[in-house]
Symmetry: C2
Subunit: 411 residues, 2 copies
């Protein structure tokens, strides 16, 4: 089988991760080895860079520069929130034809995989030979089929470390702490807080994810009970938890619900979207605990962007796998002449292999936490989840040692 | 000169830091070497543990356990917000007399140093031989005399890394980001954001500290100007910035001011304190920018507890110095038979030596950013500040490499 000859375009879409540049560099360096891949172009700011023909020549980036970029968080090529429809994809396709682009690698999440799928279909319809590979990344871990998604383990490591630190903090000074963690539809990242627990009385004592309806009364009862037992309480909560449904049966985010109960109407922007801020959610969650329990030391923080772009808090497993899915994209496209989405299959404790899934099976689908990862009360994760996540976090997690010293005899 | 013989009590006060346990372990291990220091006791939860006679025998902690505790953030002995008055100190003093305590080491900030001062005076008045040493720690860096305070460099490193990551994040996707950073009275920690800047167009583009009055109009103009120039804007702001003075001439925190302007009255707790939440401040700062500029992608995060208790983001310089100020406390007390507060003097670029300052010169004083560290416009720090902070951050800061690739010829 003769290999397809032509240009490569690579781009990055959606929110950044700590290791998305590992995938970029893996795909670039591997593509540069194939003589059939005549040029490796990077599109600036995702699909937008393609339609605007804003390309850089990655064939001419130094290896040293690329290796250092690989260790830098966030998308080095720039990213975009554009979600192309069929017409937008048609414009992309025309640019590809104009420049004899025969390979397209798009590093991104659900939306990006859908773009790759549409382009793949258009190429097929027009009989234009184009290899299209979706390289997965997302801190949300919500892609189907793959055991986990590159980017998630490092974000999870950040959350685990942050919660470990806060746990030590409130152990020293007591109090109640609520961490608002990313995740609009799936609780994978919030669940990662559970791995901070080393001793029975460690936090997080309560974990709330969008896979379960949130009850304010239950939350207050839970916090009260934990505080009575331990003299402190650490809560991890997804920003996307919801408490009620509206008339159309759609889930109403808790942040909106709490604001309305407090007599404030959330603002609506020019596009008609409710303005949902993590700060307001955190404040309301702290405020209702303060009112109910009369405790002053209640603090809530929104982890925000830090959890997806903090440099230096990276899982070595994640860095390696992100690199490898990028490399595999080049192999599948050039050596195997096939299209798809690279997925990770776990083969043991802990090893993986890489496979190629059909784009239609990945695109625009969301994987939520399965039932066996959430406890019956809906306020904690299970050992099964801990077993799933633990190897992904990588080596050299902080020890979080407690002081072991006998009580001094003062009598 | 014969050395004083008796028990050692060591305690930790105030908010945690990433390296406060280095000081604890330094003081404990060094004290255990002196035969005159017959027992090393740790008081649980600071001065409260002393009056309640809650002690652990640190003479019986294993070296291995202590060395691992040293690398764990937050106060391993527990901490307290109690600020003892003369009567409280008298109770502490009575416990010391009862148990033949002759050495007291208190690791803490301004308030803790004041407690040490009062105890020292009471011992002097009663002719009881007691060596009292204040071991400095604070993430706020607001202690006088010392070049810098252990705990600050690691918190500063966290802020620098976090802002580096956010800078890469908003470079990829554009937008405006406001980081609300700890610091009620001094801007040292917020100023550390400046070290994230590697290229001219990197954030933080604007830095606001409590040493300067904050003007909402100026802030909006500044953000607008930066956004027009760079297509993005990264702001670092101290939680304690103030915009107005009330009738009594006291500074009113911006968070309160903004809430009132938005028609909301801040809540007052049982003690009559205004409830000032970082979440509300962040949301209001984002909201007024959205309204003024009509930009959707405006995000504000409050770094909160993460900046003082995140494990694994530690300056190696800070860890070493925190250890050494603990060790020096034992030396000064036992070998030199003197009282005081251990301070760090910078002797070059970069080396330090340790000295002992008078307690009265440290206690309950606040050091703010000097004028030469803030620019004339009051919205950025100077190169002099960068020179001051750079060596404290330690080695192996993230590289934050940009991709350097030539524009592809598409013509």
């Amino acid at each position: 089988m003769s290999r397809l000859r032509g240009r490569v375009v690579i781009a990055q879409g959606g929110g950044p991760t700590a290791v998305i540049n590992q995938s970029l560099v893996g795909a670039v360096l591997e593509s540069r080895k194939f003589p059939e891949m005549t040029d490796v172009w990077g599109a600036l700011h995702g699909v937008r860079g393609i339609v605007n023909e804003n390309f850089v020549s990655l064939s001419e980036a130094t290896t040293h520069n690329l290796e250092r970029v690989a260790q830098t968080p966030s998308s080095a090529l720039g990213s975009t929130r554009d979600k192309p429809d069929a017409e937008y994809c048609h414009r992309i396709f025309n640019v590809f034809k104009k420049h004899d682009v025969r390979y397209f690698f798009y590093i991104g999440g659900n939306d990006s995989s859908d773009t790759v799928r549409i382009l793949n279909e258009q190429a097929g319809q027009e009989g234009y030979e184009l290899r299209t590979i979706h390289i997965p990344k997302t801190v949300d871990n919500d892609l189907p089929i793959t055991d986990h998604c590159p980017g998630y383990p490092s974000a999870a490591r950040f959350v685990t470390c942050a919660i470990s630190g806060v746990n030590a903090d409130i152990s020293a000074l007591s109090g109640i702490y609520i961490a608002v963690i990313m995740g609009r539809h799936a609780g994978w990242l919030t669940a990662a807080a559970a791995l901070a627990r080393k001793h029975d009385d460690d936090g997080p004592h309560l974990i709330y994810v969008p896979e379960r309806q949130f009850s304010v009364d239950r939350y207050l009862d839970d916090v009260d009970r934990v505080y009575q037992q331990h003299g402190r309480c650490l809560v991890a909560l997804s920003e996307g938890v919801w408490a009620t449904r509206n008339e159309q049966g759609r889930e109403v985010p808790l942040a909106i619900d709490l604001m309305r109960k407090a007599g404030r109407e959330p603002e609506v922007d020019a596009h008609g979207n409710l303005q949902l801020s993590g700060g307001a959610l955190a404040d309301e969650l702290a405020s209702i605990v303060q009112k109910r329990m009369g405790i002053k030391r209640v603090r809530a923080d929104t982890f925000g962007y830090l959890q997806r772009s903090f440099p230096g808090v990276v899982s070595n497993i994640d860095a390696r796998e992100a690199r490898e899915v990028g490399e595999k994209a080049a192999h599948y496209a050039c050596r195997h002449n096939v299209d798809g989405s690279v997925v990770i299959r776990r083969t043991g404790d802990y090893a993986v292999k890489y496979e190629l899934a059909r784009l239609a099976d990945i695109a625009a689908k969301t994987r939520r936490l399965p039932d066996e990862y959430i406890n019956a009360e809906g306020n904690q994760v299970t050992d099964a989840f801990r077993g799933y996540l633990r190897p992904l976090l990588g080596d050299d997690l902080p020890g979080m040692e407690r002081l072991w010293a006998p009580v001094a005899r003062v009598g």
